[in-house]
């Protein structure tokens, strides 16, 4: 698999997990239209994951293996989504950061020569607009509530460390292999942080700055998976494809 395809699989698996987050949390929606929005984002996330799987493994067997045959050590979702949401504010923030960071990476593929990949990136961009707007709409509501704002700030502080980590580093010692002509991990991370600050700073939320030398996160970095550890067993049980005999 090329490094572009490695990145695509990381995004696809992140969307798979994010879709499952929405499916699991839909009953926590704040109103009936919220249920519809969360289910819409759930199916859109699954659709994005499957579009990328089909691109990476066009054959039926290869596709089935990619979608249903992999174990927790092979799933490449963002570690940001490993810990389940602790409250409503944490759900909104984690989904926002996952969308914003995966879009930062996909948007770097909009101008790629591979038209199929560029088309997938465009489609994800169309849908990311709505997913991000859902989160920023809720940020405005939460910002007006003192306790909710505290929970949102706390979630941001905890999760943005892992969101930043997902981009890797540019230095050769970090084990990153930027594609020729593509933006490196640092440039993508900077763009991601600019977008987060643009959305959150006007509402009074502070995006924590990265300490010199980066945050200390347990585990050694695996650029291919964009992870440091295997997917937790509990999360794998939630996201694994059940009853594959029903699939066709």
């Amino acid at each position: 698999m090329t490094d572009v395809n490695d990145d695509l699989l990381c995004v696809a698996d992140t969307k798979l997990v994010l879709g499952n987050w929405f499916a699991e949390c839909v009953m926590n929606g704040r109103s009936l239209p919220d249920f519809a929005a969360m289910l819409g984002m759930c199916t859109a996330s699954y659709g994005q994951a499957r579009a990328i799987y089909q691109h990476l493994a066009p054959g039926q067997e290869a596709y089935a293996e990619l979608e249903r045959g992999r174990g927790p050590a092979e799933i490449r979702s963002m570690q940001l989504l490993d810990v389940p949401p602790q409250n409503w504010e944490d759900l909104v923030m984690a989904a926002y950061l996952a969308e914003q960071s995966s879009w930062a990476l996909m948007s770097s593929l909009l101008a790629t020569d591979d038209r199929a990949v560029a088309a997938i990136a465009r489609k994800i961009g169309e849908e990311a607009y709505f997913h991000l707007k859902y989160a920023t709409g809720w940020f405005k509501v939460i910002a007006s509530d003192v306790e909710g704002a505290e929970r949102l700030q706390d979630s941001l502080a905890r999760r943005i460390v892992l969101a930043r980590d997902w981009f890797g580093a540019d230095d050769p010692g970090g084990g990153v292999m930027p594609r020729e002509g593509a933006m490196g991990g640092r440039a993508l991370a900077d763009g991601f942080i600019r977008n987060v600050e643009r959305d959150l700073a006007p509402l009074g939320f502070q995006v924590p700055s990265e300490p010199a030398g980066g945050h200390a996160i347990a585990g050694s970095w695996d650029q291919t998976r964009r992870r440091r550890d295997d997917l937790p067993a509990g999360l794998f049980e939630v996201i694994r494809f059940k009853n594959p005999e029903y699939a066709h």
Binding site: G29, P33, A36, A37, F130, G137
Partner: protein, 91 residues
């Protein structure tokens, strides 16, 4: 409206944040550029962003070419519904 009924209404509409003020929005959409922009429904939301998103996901029966939301309280009534035919104050 009593505070009790306000509380009840708030629960029914699902707005749990006491600081948010739900607004109602009318949703208009068209399937292609030859269609007129048509009223397809309404949504309640605490702000414009969530109104946009809720409308998009609730009224997703077609692949709309265009969709707009308008705050209901921004609508200026030209001709009211039956019952108020004479709007001018009698002398």
């Amino acid at each position: 409206m009593t505070s009790e009924s306000k509380q009840k209404r708030s629960t029914v509409t699902g707005v749990t944040d006491p600081h948010s003020r739900p607004r109602y929005y009318e949703v208009f959409a068209r399937k292609d550029s030859s269609d007129a922009l048509t009223h397809v429904g309404s949504v309640e939301a605490p702000n414009d962003d969530l109104a946009e998103i809720r409308a998009w996901y609730v009224y997703d029966q077609h692949r709309w070419r265009e969709m707009c939301v308008v705050p209901t309280d921004a609508v200026v009534t030209v001709r009211p519904r039956a019952g108020d035919v004479i709007r001018i104050k009698p002398v």
